[in-house]
Symmetry: C2
Subunit: 367 residues, 2 copies
């Protein structure tokens, strides 16, 4: 119960309650529409590659407010199918009309998996990326659309995606360790009070409570917009995705063994940050005229609403320039909710002196 998948089949009502509901609010759509890095990337990807749109049939998977569909039409598309699961579809239709594009853009309310298009399409455009790229598992819906509706030489917007990891320094780890300890101090008072005032011994729950709070404060990845100088070692790629060929299997289980070297003189390894970039390159048969990148890594001038996901190490080990970190990374979907993720991250530190510190195993949740 409380599970969105039963034998791998997603319960639709539960998926709406857990996931789609937030996208029904204009407030939430506006947050995405105010992300200038995101907006510029999609805008440029379309208007600097008009040859991909002029006279073409476009499918926008998850059109939300309709923005990508409208741009596609403005760039000269002959027809745009704009599919949206939530009631936001009605607002998208209004917007299409008030921008006088109703002869080009057809808004369809429904989930991509359920609806039928009258024809195949030349371009699939979608903004499907969640935190650390794959949270939300919305790429599944885009791949489903691709396999059913994309013409043989069709193009994907974006065409490629990559996931990154990098060692960081941060005081977040101290905050969260403090919060955790504060919560445990509270708990022990509570145990005493409940015994003294109400005659019930609650100490049998100390272990599961500790577990619950540790998960909450220390094992759940944290949204953060990092400053580039918080990155203390070389960023490494842990996954590359070609949106034209990847499969749900390929993205359901991400594994990588990679190494990063510490570049900072002397620092505390407070955690590992994860982020992504995507590229708009078209395909080899049908390349972009101007390649566009959308990068959500640490950036001094401009953050994105995705920020980075931080996986805290507690207590944080000290590291020095030249130390080598070996990551064994694995990410799978949560059994209770296929749109959330569970990460195993084993870290081995080989000091520049040659000394090997014992491997530390970490378990994290992307909630």
């Amino acid at each position: 119960m409380g599970s969105s998948t039963q034998n791998g089949v997603v319960d639709k009502g539960v998926d709406f309650a857990n996931y789609f509901c937030t996208y029904g609010f204009l407030y939430h759509q506006k947050e995405m529409l105010c992300d200038r890095v995101r907006m510029d990337a999609y805008y440029n990807s379309i208007f600097k590659n008009k040859h991909h749109f002029e006279g073409k049939v476009v499918l926008d998977v998850g059109t939300g407010s309709g923005i990508l569909a409208i741009w596609s039409a403005q760039a000269g598309a002959r027809k745009v199918y704009a599919v949206e699961a939530t009631k936001m579809a009605e607002h998208a239709a209004e917007l299409v009309k008030s921008n006088e594009l109703q002869h080009v853009v057809e808004v369809i309310e429904g989930t991509m998996e359920d609806i039928t298009l009258p024809e195949k399409v030349d371009v699939i455009i979608s903004e499907w990326m969640g935190y650390f790229l794959l949270r939300e598992s919305m790429l599944d819906s885009v791949l489903c659309a691709r396999d059913r509706w994309l013409k043989p030489n069709g193009v994907m917007y974006p065409s490629h995606a990559r996931m990154w990891l990098a060692p960081i320094k941060s005081t977040l780890v101290d905050q969260k360790m403090n919060d955790f300890e504060g919560s445990m101090d509270d708990w022990y008072c509570f145990i005493d009070d409940t015994k003294n005032y109400y005659g019930v011994d609650m100490s049998a729950l100390t272990k599961p409570f500790t577990h619950e709070q540790k998960k909450y404060y220390l094992q759940t990845s944290i949204w953060n917009n990092l400053h580039p100088n918080q990155v203390i070692g070389t960023p490494v790629i842990i996954k590359e995705i070609d949106c034209l060929t990847t499969t749900v299997d390929d993205i359901s289980n991400v594994r990588a063994s990679v190494s990063s070297s510490i570049t900072e003189e002397n620092a505390r390894l407070a955690g590992i940050a994860g982020w992504f970039d995507v590229h708009f390159r078209g395909s080899s048969e049908n390349p972009a005229q101007n390649e566009i990148e959308l990068n959500t890594g640490p950036n001094e001038d401009s953050g994105t609403h995705w920020g980075q996901q931080v996986f805290l190490l507690h207590p944080p080990p000290r590291v020095q320039r030249g130390d080598d970190l070996k990551f064994n990374f694995s990410m799978i979907r949560s059994k209770e909710n296929h749109r959330l993720m569970e990460v195993d991250l084993d870290i081995e530190i080989k000091q520049s002196s040659g000394k090997l510190l014992p491997q530390v195993r970490n378990k994290f949740f992307i909630e």
Copy 2:
């Protein structure tokens, strides 16, 4: 979609995703266990009325951590059935065991509606109250248990409940009106930017966005622990419930026409506050030896985790001592989620001079 009821039938998966999920956290159970007003009331209701428990069979509907079941056993119950829908049942069972009551308390994991007991019971105890009494609609489950399992002369704990309204003064209304205006100012900048930078006119969405934000900031009732001196008129009862005889129909639709007089010299009527009390009186055949009250109204010394629900009036009218307020109150369940409420509250002010101000109709959401 996103609805927990389909033709009045509750989708269980959705109900777990929307409602039960939070009760699966010890952190949340602890918040209730730390509410001293709540704990004292239940504790006293049991231990000052041991005659209702000694040698009796008790059913605890929604046992959570198991606290009420354990107290019932400690007060001398022969058998306690402790029913809990979430995984919290496992922790309750641990707690029962570590308090050495496993021969009396039987924890059953399941929803009250689905499970079967081996016998009828003398007492049904439950802490089913949500914000403003009826939010969460959990009383339904208690009534279902009563109709199936309570012996003819059985007792309900609590036995009675009442809902209250009172006019209040508060600066919350200024805060929320400010927040709303700030959000709208932001929106107009966003409209300009999106037109200028990205060539899309979003102004068709201004109306639905205003509607959405107004609902969020001004029409959603607000949790607050009021000071008694914020109450500026006579509190009035809008609903009395006898837990032994009430029905789901009776509580699904609460209607009242009541009057309150302003007691404050001169004030701004910032809103109407709603709260509840419950009583432990037993039944007429089987009365309590010591009546206990749990009151969640404004209190100088001790708040409860329920606080009060505030329904804001914007802009707040000025009122004076002796003015009469006539409330036409109606509360129904939300069509999308039967555990949330929609309130219509029409207010007429008859000034002490005799002048009648035009009736103001207000719509609120208890989310």
